[in-house]
Subunit: 287 residues, 4 copies
């Protein structure tokens, strides 16, 4: 299958590699060309613009930082919509707001393109091993056309509803991830300030009723203060900000998410943005 | 073993029954005598005051609503400390602040009594089936003396450190429980307001990276809006308030816990206090 | 002076009337034509589109609900930028984010138009009496050209800096207004729950160290529970949401503003959106 | 009048001096004797214990750090209640919870003593110049007996209701003070991050609709980053914590106060506790 992949960040690069490894005919593009190095050797083509990458593709995948970045890559002067062939399917795997997804879906439809919003659950490790979970919004027929591409990157593919449904569920999930990990950090500091061994506490917590998979993953990281990025704190801040925006637009109060967002904002301000988001532990410490 | 059990609330009553069932020689007391009915038939004695209940006991267990209630039962005119025999062990299974536990431990020591703070993880169902988890602070020797009593009520007994350690860990755990369940409610409302099926969302969430045991337990309850109390919202409010107090005293900022506390306070104000704390779902709805 | 005025809401309508009253040659437009009624009788022209209104104007004023509304009126198919004459000055008096103002300023510059962001401090009463305070960002020369228009609506005109400066200061001011009034409501409920007379408390508070002009204005409204809208709660929610977004984008944690935003969101959800924002008092009550 | 004054902190010392200056017969006591130096030279007596200070007094004033400190001075082994003469009036000018005040009032009544809770509005400067504002709860007759003492320290004396009313109003006032000053800091950082001059912003804010007396006082302090303590940040943290406790006990959600408390807690953790509470400005900065 002829696939264009736009956005070779920490997540995007390993996802694109899995597409090549699965035998797809891949063209990649990235805003800074440095990150495209190595893809030629793998057998992929490198395009100079989103428009050039999209021209011949059957499936066009975007994996970008935020809604304005997706808008620019799709609708900009050298954007995807300028060249994509009718019948191709756009698959946006970035985390954006549902309203962004619906707006992009409408633009795609005007050009005769299919649309899926398909943000993923899972971080860098899962991207490398092709074990991501796709949360898909859009038409079932478009999903069937894009499935060979998604299957090369994801172990589970959930079709959740029409355009926007994938983004809705992704924001709601990340809200909970961001809050659970901050609450874990609060509890660990409270236990430590009360004289209890922090590492012992984190191990106990992971084995308790609040021990979700994400807590089990991040508790040892906090215990060791090893914040090698799997999902960068600045990206968690961005996703929490989108969730809080969405809540205020839809009329849903989000008290813990809004409080957590301020801590992630403080974390970026304190220079922790490129560490894993579990480094939120340090914000409470330093503060 | 001769055991006194003080406080026959929703948790205390089934815990006391498990002590009788295990063959212990039990004397019970409760502030309102109505809740002692039925214990005579089971073979327990009913005492008119904490002092009377404690007089002959080897192990004296308190399971009460809050720190002032424990203080009253221990130090009041007809309180436990007036009659308890040197060598007996006080076991406070209530959720209180670590400083309360340390203060009570010191009072116990003055009278030659042992002390354990042993709040439990688990709610009404686990109390009935003897499957609670004990979080124990105090001397190892005191724990050994009280172990036969604890074993009749708990499937796991964790000795966590000196007096206060049990209370420290319990508050930190409940903080996370209260925050996780509120964040689940926020996410469910956000998904629903975005047009996604609420019940489908809650099922997805329980199976995702944030699906801790408590989330797996409460997600179906929220989906069904079945808030039969396992752990009453007003008690969660009380525990969150103790955690927030403890944080401000120890100098630990607790941004998500403090925000969550305000929602639980609002829940009590909205008349939801006697429902299960998962009814926090309705606070966001009604608001 | 030939002036176009776009957006005849609760604030815009009296502002436009003051322009006619000052003798300006006015053309008005509003999305729903019903609100233009009566302007013909006053001597103004009514245009069918923003483009038609702007065609001959020297100063083009927008007073709209939110950033997307301003974007649509400026850049839409029948928008202002399609017809405005080079040399005219766009004056956006809506409350938007600084980045919106800078983006609109750049679009204006491309067409040879001047730009001012000039949100106002003051609510309906001040709009009617021409006593608003203009917070102006943009070039000094553009301000001089637009001054006759602004002077007809405002008692004070503060030139704060380049494009975006007006919006920056406006958001920061409204953040404080929203927080102060919610904190007043919190304190009044706390005093009332403690048995103190609510009306007496509000009068005392207004005369105390926290008695700012906005507190002195809203305390009697809360005491009387008279929430006739001067500034609608839904608009306060919108402005607080813009401030919180701006904070998370610029890396500034806004703990009280983010918490307050959730209460205003809850207020809109509880059906209070069209009342004055002092009705936030009822959110704490009902909750 | 024979007066005992217990607690010679930053506020208490100048208050006691004003009592001597007004010609009262004063006996002072302080936990650390160092702070009593100089009082002999002024003509006051220095007592070794609260009991000794209170023995002959007609009015006994406490100005202490927190509820446990007041409890210890009143009810401890060498406490006031051990020696105070029936008919004397206890005047607690500390900031405590209304329930504390009511409990102390009941203890005083048992000994035949009068009671006033009379926390004050105003900080060190007002204490020095005798310009405090007394917020009084208790019986009118007790106030009349204590009035000569209060008049030497206060420019205004408000009788607000029965025992506890003074504490209720004080906590509600301080809640608003703490929130207003943090919101000012948030807005100033937001404006500064948006490129606007911080000092100019703070001056504008003080002159705007949110310019309360406390904002007008603290805005120049923030502009100059001069945090010479008038009211220490650690004391503001303590008062906010009491207000949040009171709210959760009475069932009043306090969203902005609870969020602000976490910032003041972080401020103490960051070593700012002994600076003026306007140094909360630095918590947002550093974070």
């Amino acid at each position: 299958m002829r696939i264009a992949f736009l956005g070779l960040g920490a997540m995007g690069a390993p996802m694109a590699k899995n597409l090549v490894a699965a035998g797809h005919d891949l063209t990649v593009w990235n805003r800074s060309a440095a990150r495209t190095e190595g893809f030629t050797a793998l057998g992929a083509r490198v395009a100079a613009t989103p428009a050039a990458a999209a021209r011949e593709a059957e499936v066009i995948i975007t994996m970008l930082a935020d809604p304005p970045a997706v808008a620019a890559v799709l609708t900009g002067p050298d954007g995807v919509l300028a060249t994509a062939r009718p019948g191709a399917v756009l698959v946006d795997m970035s985390t954006v707001r549902p309203e962004d997804s619906r707006r992009f879906a409408a633009l795609a439809a005007e050009k005769g393109l299919g649309w899926l919003d398909s943000p993923v659950s899972g971080s860098v490790g899962a991207a490398e091993s092709g074990q991501l979970i796709a949360l898909v919004g859009g038409e079932a027929a478009d999903l069937e056309r894009a499935r060979p591409a998604l299957s090369a990157m994801c172990k589970e593919i959930h079709h959740l509803g029409p355009a926007g449904a994938g983004s809705t569920v992704k924001l709601a999930f990340n809200l909970m991830v961001g809050v659970q990990v901050l609450a874990l950090a609060e509890a660990a500091h409270l236990a430590a300030a009360g004289g209890f061994d922090r590492q012992k506490f984190l191990a106990l917590a992971a084995g308790s009723v609040i021990g979700s998979p994400i807590v089990k993953l991040k508790a040892p990281a906090m215990a060791a203060e090893d914040f090698t990025p799997a999902f960068a704190l600045k990206l968690m801040k961005k996703d929490m900000a989108l969730a809080v925006q969405e809540g205020s637009q839809l009329g849903v109060p989000l008290p813990t998410a809004a409080a957590a967002l301020q801590s992630y904002v403080a974390g970026v301000g304190a220079g922790l943005g490129d560490l894993d988001f579990a480094a939120i532990y340090r914000v409470l410490q330093g503060a």
